[in-house]
């Protein structure tokens, strides 16, 4: 069976010991109140909550799924009650703006909370996740009136939010969307059109659902520069701010999906629904961009969370399942076979999972801290540097967490042998739930393009240079640290490889416009492996200062990462260098 305990010790190790996040929080007025004691206590509570409240609903939620009947969506048994408890205990307000009732917790803490949510129950986690996206966007761009009217109830969990971008004919290419917004005399707009794949578009857990909708104004320019953002509530608030008249928006159906079956994915029909503009006309996509990094990171964390629960379950199973004898002789004298954890190949699977999960956890925390600096720092230089760093690393976090997360859930299933394929054991659900994370919030192909194109070639590699300089600086500063001796050379070689491959990418991209798109995915993977190498090195240096089992285990897993996973980077570099020719030469008709 699947098992899950929030990995609190590792989370504290990364947050407190490796990154000393509390020092950063203390340095910025907006987060000054968050102390190490507070963050530790919050993680404890969050762990208990997800283990006791959400994890038990995960398997059943998958089997039951959501129900659709005549425009109404019913979530699986227990979801509604759990959501009520969740909201009452203040979890919906976690990262909200305190001015409107939020708790103002930093992203660097939120990432760990989000990881637990996705480990315990990914379908459930998506309802508050989408609301988070909506509130971030409102907080950044909406008028004061709209904020006053909507943010408090969204933070309290009485209402929830959605993001309505996708249409039947477009998801990646939002420039060609068709939904229309026609201005009314009172300053509001009438929104018409069909949105598909809207997560949490309709459900039974809250009193009102607030849709953030992309649509085009009548004379909007063509393409992505002609898109505006609107707030469209399911029920229009009455004079007291409570849900009043029903608006012209309704769910037409829900999708039947591979996974996240407890999350309602809705076709939303807008039929002259009343809405209010958020931000400036035709600046809708730009408004979305401000929260995009947060959301991408959060969806990346879905991959991480599922990788973690899969790992824990597999490690438990591997200690119990008896099968075959160890190559070095019998280990379990009393039993008719040895536990499979004695086999080198089972260890390879488990350690691969663990090394990727813990590397990912470190990166999520690191990017969370950079996001905090980018938002709250009062030092301009620090803020700017953090913004650049976030821009560079967010697509990596989104795509690499979810691609490796998917690999990890598949491996976890493999550890269970045939039982991994059977639903009641729970391992195959993690695979199905994880699969979506590679697709939505911008497919991983699109993330890779964003990285290789916008974030690297478009600025001549400026962000990468800064990143590489930091890595080299860190290596120099820690040259004599204990944890680094066994892996220093490999780390330096990895940094060199990222540098030379980036140069190669820039060179070939100058000659051939197809180069970026042709090598983006491999480049992102390479970048991910090298970044994890650096983060593993950081963890190892910190771990070497401890004299306990936890610290020693970290060092072993770190070495495993360098010796058995990092070599993949070399192969990726070779693929990238091969260039686009072999991909473009085949004519479309000859496929």
């Amino acid at each position: 069976m699947a098992t899950y305990k929030a990995p609190l010790e590792d989370m504290r190790f990364i947050l407190n010991d490796v990154f000393q996040a509390d020092r950063l929080w203390a340095s910025m007025p907006a987060t000054a109140e968050v102390t190490r004691d507070l963050s530790d206590a919050i993680l404890d509570e969050a762990g208990k909550m997800v283990e006791n409240l959400l994890f038990p609903l995960n398997r059943d939620g998958d089997e039951e799924g959501c129900h659709f009947d005549d425009g109404q969506v019913t979530t699986p048994k227990g979801f509604k009650e759990a959501f009520k408890t969740y909201a009452e205990n203040g979890w919906t307000a976690f990262s909200g703006n305190p001015e409107f009732g939020g708790q103002g917790m930093p992203k660097s803490l939120a990432v760990l909370f989000e990881e637990m949510m996705h480990s315990a129950n990914s379908s459930f986690a998506l309802y508050p996740a989408l609301t988070n996206g909506a509130t971030l966007c409102l907080d950044a761009h909406a008028s004061e009136d709209l904020k006053q009217a909507y943010l408090p109830k969204l933070y309290s969990g009485e209402w929830s939010g959605t993001m309505c971008l996708t249409e039947p004919h477009c998801g990646t290419d939002l420039g060609i969307m068709r939904s229309k917004a026609v201005p009314n005399d009172d300053g509001s707009f009438n929104i018409s059109g069909t949105k598909i794949f809207i997560t949490g578009g309709e459900h039974d857990m809250v009193d009102n659902i607030i849709h953030l909708v992309l649509a085009k104004l009548p004379d909007a320019p063509a393409g992505s520069k002609g898109i505006s953002l609107f707030l469209v509530p399911k029920f229009l608030p009455d004079a007291d701010g409570n849900p009043g008249e029903r608006n012209g928006v309704a769910a037409g159906s829900i999708e039947h999906k591979m996974g996240i079956k407890g999350s309602a994915t809705c076709v939303m029909n807008f039929d002259d629904a009343k809405g209010w503009i958020i931000g400036e006309p035709n600046q809708g996509l730009a408004a979305m961009f401000t929260m995009m990094n947060y959301e991408r990171l959060s969806i990346g964390i879905q991959g991480l969370g599922l990788g973690e629960v899969s790992y824990q379950s597999a490690a438990d199973y591997a200690r119990e399942r008896l099968q075959g004898r160890a190559a070095t002789g019998v280990q379990n004298e009393g039993g008719n076979a040895d536990p499979i954890i004695v086999h080198g190949d089972v260890r390879r699977m488990l350690l691969t999972m663990r090394a990727l999960n813990e590397g990912g956890r470190a990166l999520s925390t690191y990017v969370g801290m950079e996001l905090d600096k980018a938002k709250f720092s009062e030092n301009d230089a620090e803020q700017k540097a953090a913004q650049d760093r976030v821009a560079l690393l967010t697509p990596i976090a989104k795509a690499f967490f979810t691609d490796r997360g998917f690999d990890t859930t598949v491996i976890g299933q493999q550890v269970f042998g045939g039982h991994g394929y059977v639903r009641e054991w729970g391992m195959e659900q993690f695979v199905r739930d994880c699969r979506i994370s590679q697709i939505y919030e911008g497919t991983n192909g699109i993330q890779a393009l964003d990285l290789a194109g916008r974030k690297v070639t478009r600025n001549g590699g400026k962000y990468v240079d800064a990143f590489l300089a930091d890595l080299r600086g860190w290596i120099d500063d820690n040259a004599n640290e204990q944890g680094l001796d066994s892996i220093r050379e490999r780390l330096v070689a990895a940094v060199d490889l990222l540098e030379s491959t980036t140069a190669e990418l820039l060179r070939q991209a100058g000659d051939n416009p197809d180069m970026v798109n042709a090598s983006a995915v491999e480049y992102l993977d390479l970048f991910g492996y090298v970044t994890y190498a650096w983060l593993w090195a950081r963890m190892m240096v910190t771990a070497a200062q401890r004299d306990d089992d936890f610290g020693r285990a970290k060092l072993t897993v770190g070495r495993f990462y360098f010796e058995r996973l990092l070599p993949r980077a070399g192969a990726l570099a070779e693929q990238i260098k091969a260039g686009p020719a072999t991909m473009m030469s085949l004519e479309q008709d000859l496929f």
């Binding site: 790992y311 190559a327 954890i341 390879r348 695979v431 089992d549 897993v557 072999t582």
Partner: protein, 598 residues
């Protein structure tokens, strides 16, 4: 939803042109088998698969199998399709003519299995499992057993199963518990629980013949104490019909990730009457004789899902419009370009194509070797084929299913969000594909078989036999200007393969854990190199046809183009696996069991 079209052109290319089956059959002395016959077969098989089986694939997944009170009902249409299959004589293709079979060699039906499997993997498992039972009885049964079971199994009126797995063991069959007590009449009473038995119970055939692994009362411990039994659902009535119901029944069926229309059954044997087949305590050895064929059957699944993912992805990529090509609009009149213009979409398509077609070549090659193992007139030739097949089978089984799963996932990704939605069919392809790396020996177990048994236990001889073939091929084509850039990497990796193997052997002498630690990376490495050889071989054949002005230029050019893609963009992955192996052992073995999670 992807509409399956059997890739007949490519199948013929591999069978007739690359593997030269005409020459092969002539050499084996099979006068009546030739490409003309094969082609007719392929056409009929394609029609049947496309028209009868493919339409049931999606609905079969949604409906799944039903279990009630020991009775299993297959999804709507399955039974009727099976009846047509039997009527068409398909189950009998490879069967022994003495019992109504057509006696055709395995290579003559491999493409048919691929087609039925790609069209509907769940469905194809019912006849697929029968093959195992038939092969076992043909090989090890007494005349009486053959007469009793083979005619109906060969015709397909009855189906068969393979009952190995038990709740506490799958990979480690040495610890299985099912018992066989001898009866006075020479039969045995079989008692025990088998799980995960594909087609253990269903409504498509009038009788089901289980081949069961069990232990005799005083059997030695471990794998050397296992015997093989025939346990029919209904005892035979002595006249070729069915008689009394036997004490074997389905206790439940599993609810699975995929292949939902294939019934996976818990089978309870409760003093069921069984008949020993083969010698006492040699059950596993008996199984081994056809294990290569069974594994090959699962290797086909890798090809099937890669092909289906590719076909679905390709059709969608030509239609779906999103964004503009970076080298200028390709569809200026539309709102956006078809996504096939984007290199990253091409990467996914070409990767899938390279795996589907390369996997096909490997699996068909193994089938050809299988013919030689059975039918070659010369002992040495037979043995050589046997050794080569033994080496290539775990690679085909594990590597082709692993990359088949990857390709199925590319298929989903090409569909974007729609890939995740059931009605489009692409996610089913992933769910169905996922089983292939688990059953019939997990990837890990195949890898141990390859590196431990096939390579190390022969002191590398089996591998050297193969790398020599590759080497000769490279020598023969290395001077061909057009092919040079394809041959060079094959030759390089082929050399390196031998070196890597030697390095592993040295290490393994010092530490027996080394093999298990290196095995899966070694298998993947071997798979990438083997496929590189086959891609080069296909390209060489394509070039030869182009030079000879054989027509069909586009097809051959596409082959060469895909081969180039494979060498440049896929083969380098082998280096990553090599690096991982060289990473060594300590970091893998030293972590205390209790320290895996805190």
């Amino acid at each position: 939803m992807p509409e399956y079209k059997a890739p007949l052109r490519d199948m013929r290319f591999v069978l007739n042109e690359v593997l030269d089956l005409d020459g092969h059959y002539a050499k084996l002395g099979l006068e009546e088998v030739n490409s003309e016959l094969l082609n007719a077969f392929l056409d009929e098989g394609a029609k049947f698969s496309e028209n009868e089986l493919a339409p049931l694939n999606r609905s079969g997944d949604e409906e799944g199998c039903h279990f009630e009170d020991g009775v299993v009902t297959t999804p709507k249409g399955f039974k009727e399709a099976y009846a047509k299959y039997v009527e068409g004589g398909w189950p009998a293709i490879n069967g022994d003519p003495e019992f109504g079979g057509q006696g055709l060699p395995g290579s003559a039906s491999i493409a048919i299995s691929e087609m039925t499997g790609t069209a509907n993997w769940s469905w194809s498992m019912y006849p697929g499992l029968s093959h195992g039972a038939v092969a076992t009885i043909e090989e090890h049964g007494t005349d009486q057993q053959k007469n009793a079971y083979l005619p109906k199994l060969t015709s397909g009126e009855w189906t068969g199963t393979m009952c190995l797995t038990e709740p506490h063991c799958g990979s480690d069959l040495g610890i299985l518990k099912t018992k066989a007590e001898p009866n006075a009449d020479g039969s045995y009473s079989i008692t025990g629980t088998k799980i995960f038995i594909s087609a253990g119970e269903h409504d498509m055939a009038e009788n089901i013949v289980h081949i069961v692994l069990a232990r005799l009362p005083d059997a030695p411990k471990g794998t050397k104490g296992i015997s093989l039994f025939i346990v029919p659902k209904f005892l035979t009535d002595g006249n070729g019909g069915v008689g009394e119901r036997n004490a074997v029944a389905c206790g439940s069926i599993e609810h699975k990730m995929g292949i939902k229309a294939s019934a996976t059954c818990v089978m309870n044997f409760d003093g069921a009457t069984g008949y020993l087949i083969g010698p006492e305590n040699k059950g596993l050895n008996c199984m081994f004789t056809f294990m290569n064929f069974a594994r090959l059957g699962t290797a086909i699944q890798g090809v099937a899902h890669a092909e289906l993912g590719f076909q679905g992805g390709l059709a969608y990529a030509r239609e779906r419009l999103a964004m503009r090509s970076l080298s200028g609009p390709k569809n200026p009149d539309g709102p956006a370009d078809p996504i096939i213009v984007h290199p990253d979409v091409r990467r996914m398509l070409l990767t899938s194509k390279a795996f589907a077609e390369g996997g096909r070549a490997l699996v068909y090659l193994c089938a050809q070797l299988g013919d030689q193992v059975k039918l070659a007139r010369d002992d040495a030739e037979r043995e050589q084929a046997h050794d080569l097949m033994a080496l290539l089978t775990p690679i085909a089984k594990a590597f082709v299913t692993e990359v088949g799963l990857e390709a199925a996932n590319h298929g989903v990704q090409i569909y974007g969000g729609h890939g995740f939605i059931r009605e489009w069919g692409m996610e089913q392809n992933v769910r169905d594909a996922r089983i292939s790396t688990l059953y019939e020996g997990t990837t890990g177990i195949q890898a141990l078989d390859l590196l431990g048994r096939k390579v190390m236990m022969t002191q590398g001889q089996a591998l050297r036999n193969f790398t020599k073939i590759v080497h000769k091929f490279c020598e023969a084509h290395g001077d061909n200007g057009e092919l040079k850039e394809l041959i060079e990497p094959v030759a390089r990796y082929n050399r390196e393969w031998g070196e890597l193997t030697q390095a592993i052997a040295m290490q393994a002498m010092q530490n027996p854990d080394y093999v298990g630690a290196a095995s899966v990376d070694y298998l993947m490495y071997s798979g990438y190199v083997t496929l590189a050889y086959l891609w080069a071989r296909m390209a060489a054949k394509a070039q030869e046809q182009l030079d000879a002005g054989a027509g069909d230029e586009d097809f051959y050019k596409a082959k060469i183009s895909t081969a180039r893609f494979y060498m440049k963009r896929i083969l380098p992955r082998a280096a990553g696996h090599k690096g991982a192996i060289e990473g060594g052992l300590d970091c893998l073995m030293e972590l205390d069991q209790e320290h895996f999670a805190f």
